[in-house]
């Protein structure tokens, strides 16, 4: 009974946001055109630098799935993280959080809405990669890819919750942080490149960022190659394959970040309620 009630509330939030979004078709057209021109510019570069060795297919897929992961991450950050700030700015966040719904329903509803909307962008991006950069889609392990995708979602969602919790307090300064997060993700999480060819200095930073491992696991599992960030290691005298090590690491980090994000956001909301800045911007 309780689960059904929660599901209905989740559905209501997703439906409400979808309804609002469908009122602005031009905004979506612009979004698709925006992506088209970015990818078109990059495809020109790819064609300029292509060596014709055949390895481009794998690298093309690595970049494609990296870009798809980035689309989902920035969607979650924008709609869940920044979405709460938008409600705060409009002055409706307090009213929504005073309704008798659980505190986790609103961000999860926003995430559900983001996933639905961004699936369109993901499909369009894959289509553009195939057409513009002549990248054939390689899916060697669909089930593994799906599981890695779930872990990636958990981690990205956890990070979005952490951001939302902080931005509720920081207000306008949060604008700069969201841009900074996007820049750091694009530069160091292998969105437009393969970790294999990245300079050592970049890799050092990439290895500090949990999202890099989630992206690496997602794309190398789908394409069916060895992980690029982790190699086989011996821990306590036991040799552990790089692939297994990355699965363990990403599972642990995803669970931890999701829990941390949820706790931090709930705490921030409680603090905002107590101090009375939930509705002020």
């Amino acid at each position: 009974m309780e689960i059904r009630k929660h599901l209905d509330q989740l559905k209501a939030i997703v439906k409400f946001n979808l309804k609002i979004e469908t009122r602005y078709p031009i905004s979506y057209m612009a979004g698709f055109l925006n992506m088209f021109f970015w990818l078109f510019s990059f495809s020109i570069l790819v064609l300029m630098f292509s060596r014709g060795t055949g390895e481009e297919k794998i690298i093309g897929n690595i970049i494609m799935w990296g870009f798809v992961a980035y689309l989902v991450f920035q969607g979650l950050l924008g709609e869940v993280g920044f979405g709460l700030i938008r409600l705060q700015r409009r002055g409706t966040l307090e009213q929504i959080l005073l309704t008798p719904i659980s505190p986790w329903i609103l961000p999860l509803g926003l995430a559900g809405f983001t996933i639905i909307i961004h699936m369109l962008f993901v499909v369009f991006a894959i289509f553009l990669f195939c057409i513009l950069m002549k990248v054939p889609i390689i899916i060697k392990n669909p089930l593994g890819g799906f599981l890695a995708g779930v872990l990636f979602f958990m981690m990205a969602y956890g990070l979005a919750l952490l951001y939302a919790g902080w931005a509720l307090k920081a207000k306008r300064s949060g604008w700069a942080l969201i841009n900074a997060i996007q820049i750091i993700t694009m530069l160091f999480c292998g969105v437009f490149y393969s970790f294999r060819t990245a300079p050592q200095a970049v890799l050092t930073i990439s290895r500090i960022i949990p999202l890099s491992y989630a992206i690496d696991l997602l794309r190398t599992t789908i394409v069916g190659i060895e992980p690029e960030l982790i190699s086989t290691a011996t821990i306590l005298g036991i040799e552990i394959q790089g692939r297994l090590l990355e699965w363990i690491l990403v599972t642990a980090l995803s669970t931890l970040l999701l829990a941390l994000g949820y706790l931090y956001l709930t705490r921030s909301i409680e603090d905002a309620k107590r101090k009375g800045y939930l509705a002020t911007y």
Binding site: L45, M48, F49, R51, S173, A176, A180, T197
Partner: protein, 278 residues
């Protein structure tokens, strides 16, 4: 005259004060051209295999092996252009959203003074932050010698000349913002379109003929191509004299056209009573 200058300065100071309150914005402004340069470089190394092979492949199309500096110049000018084009419109949007735009238009300051104050702010901030960004990036990548040459001063001259039409375009885009109220979609589309058409990452000679003709309509294309030509001793779009003449003609046309369009939209909205509505 003194009163006008005071009004312009007040707008400039108000915007500058708000900007300096958020140190994160300042840091990002420096970082943006570096980020825009690194993104295609990582892609190039990934596809090309190494920076050497990427440079070789690039020289076939661009006539220079210095592809990192080539992209750095493009992305720096692109980010200044986008800032100038949109900052004025976004300022109007923010005032509209906060409900203070109508009050602003009702102050004794004329629209021209408001425009000049706002555009001067954008110009000063974009120019300073972008050149500091360029300086940091050039030092990091080992291209400082390009910035310490006579050619760099000539390149700055070309870039600054291009600001005049850009400011006119900014006023025109401001009119669009007043008219359509929600400019984000158009902004996102135009930003990406400019990356593609103005040859930020590659020479425009790679583009098909029709796209090349469209590219020349934008002052940013000439600024980017000619600055690179001066700095790296590669081809201009047509010829230095012709390119400068085109830029001068844009510098005459765009401010007049932008001003007329802004006046027209402003009067229309004042008549309808919807100038402050969002």
């Amino acid at each position: 005259m003194k009163v006008s200058l005071q009004a312009i300065y007040s707008i400039f100071r108000a915007r500058f004060r708000i900007y300096t309150r958020y140190s994160g914005w300042l840091i990002l402004s420096f970082a943006y051209p570096i980020f825009m340069t690194l993104m295609p470089i990582f892609l190039a190394i990934s596809v090309g295999g190494s920076i050497q092979t990427a440079s070789e492949a690039f020289s076939v199309y661009a006539g220079t092996r210095e592809f990192v500096f080539y992209i750095l110049v493009g992305s720096t000018i692109w980010s200044i252009s986008v800032n100038i084009l949109w900052d004025f419109g976004m300022w109007l949007y923010e005032e509209m959203e906060a409900g203070t735009l109508e009050q602003l238009f009702l102050t004794p300051a004329s629209v021209a003074e408001l425009l000049l104050g706002a555009v001067m702010y954008t110009l000063v901030v974009s120019l300073i932050t972008s050149f500091i960004g360029l300086l940091i990036a050039s030092t990091l990548f080992g291209y400082l010698h390009y910035l310490l040459s006579i050619e760099f001063i000539i390149a700055i001259g070309i870039i600054v000349l291009g600001f005049v039409p850009l400011m006119g375009m900014a006023v025109f885009f401001g009119a669009i913002v007043l008219k359509i109220k929600e400019p984000w979609a158009f902004f996102n589309f135009f930003t990406a379109f400019l990356v593609f058409i103005a040859g930020v990452f590659y020479p425009i000679t790679i583009l098909p003929p029709l796209a090349r003709h469209i590219a020349i309509i934008f002052p940013a294309t000439i600024q980017i191509c000619d600055s690179r030509a001066v700095l790296l001793h590669i081809d201009y779009i047509f010829d230095p004299a012709i390119d400068i003449l085109i830029l001068i003609s844009y510098a005459i046309f765009w401010p007049i056209f932008g001003g007329i369009m802004f006046r027209r939209v402003e009067s229309e909205l004042k008549l309808k009573g919807s100038i402050g509505a969002h």
